[in-house]
Symmetry: C3
Subunit: 327 residues, 3 copies
């Protein structure tokens, strides 16, 4: 899975080794990851202007194909596409012909017959975006906006972009990821992206039920005590705690979790001075992170959102074969 080769086994690349889909951080070459991050810089400045548009994808059509609700993700991709001047078609599952028994691939084939140029897909089943990419090949681009346990590679891209931009070279960071690492594809994709970029030390922190010892095989340090995990960390990344986990008895209670692991000002003080606090959102204030930390000076959660828009503009333009933005 986490190979750096491409070819038949790596759906993200076409026969010439060009990035054609963004499905997962796994399998992404370092130089493509770096190109996305560099292109993101060029798009970041656009959002600061009064006229926040470029003609990059004028006349192209992108489909937001969402089989799960996610206003935040849908809105970011919609805005990214619109600011690139693309036409956007929003299709949500509850309205779609799939309710008439049509399959995902039939729906996609119909949209392809209308000459759409790409799909941004969110689907509850793991592998849905890969299925689409395999089916479409070079005919249209596919961006995975979350499949299965709500993973989407653009999240990891915006995370490492934020770290690189606001904390400095990834090679110099000590990163501590806090929370339900076991069920978080955000965490796994982030660990992959950090590894590709040469992060020297990655720690994961949480209760044994959510951070099992097997994680050490990913090349990370496993911690169950904040006092051991936080010292020296230049980046503290708090994960969203899925309330559903409570029902599976992996957690005693939200209060208990907050008391033992929640990122409070006191715990943050254990980390390196000026350590940055990241969170993928939406935030459970008072659970995985205290409100005062979210709103405090070390928090860069809104910068993550801002960077997320630029990352998506970069990804869409690169996959569409337009190398970047020139003023």
């Amino acid at each position: 899975m986490s190979t750096l080769h491409f070819g038949d086994g790596n759906l993200q690349y076409d026969g010439q080794g060009r990035l054609r889909h963004l499905l997962s951080i796994e399998g992404l070459r370092e130089r493509d990851l770096l190109q996305i991050l560099d292109t993101t810089e060029s798009f970041l400045s656009i959002a600061q202007r009064t006229v926040k548009k470029t003609p990059t994808l004028r006349g192209r059509t992108l489909v937001n194909l969402f089989f799960e609700n996610s206003t935040r993700t849908r809105s970011t991709f919609e805005l990214a596409a619109k600011r690139l001047s693309a036409d956007v078609l929003n299709i949500s599952a509850s309205q779609s012909s799939t309710t008439k028994g049509e399959s995902l691939l039939d729906t996609v084939d119909n949209l392809m017959a209308m000459q759409v140029d790409g799909f941004i897909v969110r689907h509850p089943e793991a592998g849905a975006a890969h299925l689409l990419a395999r089916h479409l090949g070079e005919r249209a681009l596919v961006v995975n906006a979350g499949d299965g346990q709500h993973a989407h590679p653009t999240q990891a891209l915006l995370d490492v972009f934020t770290i690189r931009r606001l904390a400095g070279p990834v090679e110099q960071q000590v990163v501590c990821i806090l929370g339900d690492v076991l069920h978080s594809r955000v965490a796994r994709a982030l660990i992959h992206a950090l590894s590709i970029l040469g992060c020297p030390e990655i720690r994961v922190l949480g209760p044994r039920t959510l951070v099992p010892p097997e994680f050490a095989s990913l090349g990370v340090q496993v911690h169950h005590d904040p006092r051991a995990a936080l010292p020296g960390a230049s980046i503290v990344y708090a994960l969203r705690l899925q309330r559903e986990r409570m029902e599976s008895h992996r957690l005693p209670s939200l209060d208990e979790f907050h008391r033992r692991f929640g990122l409070t000002p006191e715990r943050l003080a254990l980390a390196a001075p000026g350590a940055l606090v990241l969170h993928p959102g939406p935030i459970n204030r008072g659970v995985e992170i205290a409100s005062t930390v979210v709103d405090g000076p070390q928090s860069v959660v809104l910068a993550q959102v801002e960077h997320g828009l630029a990352v998506r503009m970069a990804v869409l333009s690169l996959l569409a074969g337009v190398p970047g933005h020139e003023d």
Copy 2:
């Protein structure tokens, strides 16, 4: 509340006394109200052209943030924004992250991180738009598209614009407002706007349960008999009767209301010759107003809708700091 001062107490103005949000008619200076009405004139002509667009807000992003369904209001603002060439993001509450427990302000902060330029907000709770404006300050514009009892100041603006344009100077009108005045913010905002513009005589008409004597303190004449309220009125404004009121026993029945107060051709004949009939919509035909009056020659309800679009274009462009439309 209804002060003409600005500053800390008046969220609609920035520190330099420039109109930055449109939250309520209360607190709006006469000269700003007049500027909106004058700017509306310039936008009204655009709708008559084949190409109904201006580049006024090209490259800006406006968010329709609707926590209540209102196709009519949402559509008007969406069309207004599109005709100004803005990008529009529609977000409805049922889809939004607020269902994941995220607060209104977190949602807005996330959207601000994507550099959106303004919010058109509809929310069931009174004060939601004010909360947003207080939070955002000069960072983005806020237009109140209805909070609490479905008030929105652009309704009062289009009403006085319609009166001024089709009946003449507001200073020369006698206005009779008919119906559930007690629960109508439309009525209250209209009374304020008419007062600011120097309307010499405003009458309110309805049963005692819906038009209590205390209204006299607003400077209006209180009437319970159409035969006393209508003679001499140059403007008859029928309010939508909320069927919900029936349940609170404030009304015997819709039929009874129509029989005693409904604007029939006979009652309209009591008003001044050629008196104009207005209604904010949607109309309950046969309840507060007879169908023949809605569709009759004195009705200007569709002109109100037309003017509503131009008013919203004017408000959005003025709040965005673009003073108006030049051909």
Copy 3:
């Protein structure tokens, strides 16, 4: 109903005999049908370009007024309008003021007051689009996107366009329509369009309950045996089998239908060599048609979808008074 005259009785034409609405194939003049098909050719090439847009309807506003869910139809019209550079307003019934008791015509009048240029209407009741066209006259264009039993004339237009483009002149085709002809307006509209264009032989095939002998009065051959109906057919058109029909006991079972009438490779081999297979979608694979036939070399179902987009662009531009696309 199926007259070739125009005037009072033919709502599709204005007083000068210009096509103003597209409501049904019945009543459409041959020369207008041919003009739509010819204009479609010019729009088909646009979809092949990188920039898939023309400024044809820039500054016009079209409303997708959908009182029934139909992602496919809505998306095609939305894309068609956007590629013509029109602004599109999507209004679905569940959100609309009609739930507040406002009538269809009141909703339309309100939208007209906002100077929209046309309506694409889908409504569960037969005649809804006609009602709108009668109400609007020359003030705005109306395209029937399905009323009652899910008929929409653009389907028949894309069908005959596909036949003409991929099989050759309609005058030389033998067409066999298979399935629930009785309840299918798609079938009826197709028969009309084929007749207008001089198709010499049209056959309908299905069980007696769904293809009654009375159909012969439409000038078609009625068949109940595939071995008699298919030989010599150059076009085989499979209709979607409405599962609802099962409940009315008109069909024993889906399996039984497939066994006796379903378009299998064996049955298709009875038709003329290289006969084309069409289907209006969405497809019930394994019911009216076998999956291998849908995906086989004779199937042109995706070409139908592609042509459908170009047909809708042609219809919208012609009804808006813009004669076509010039490069």
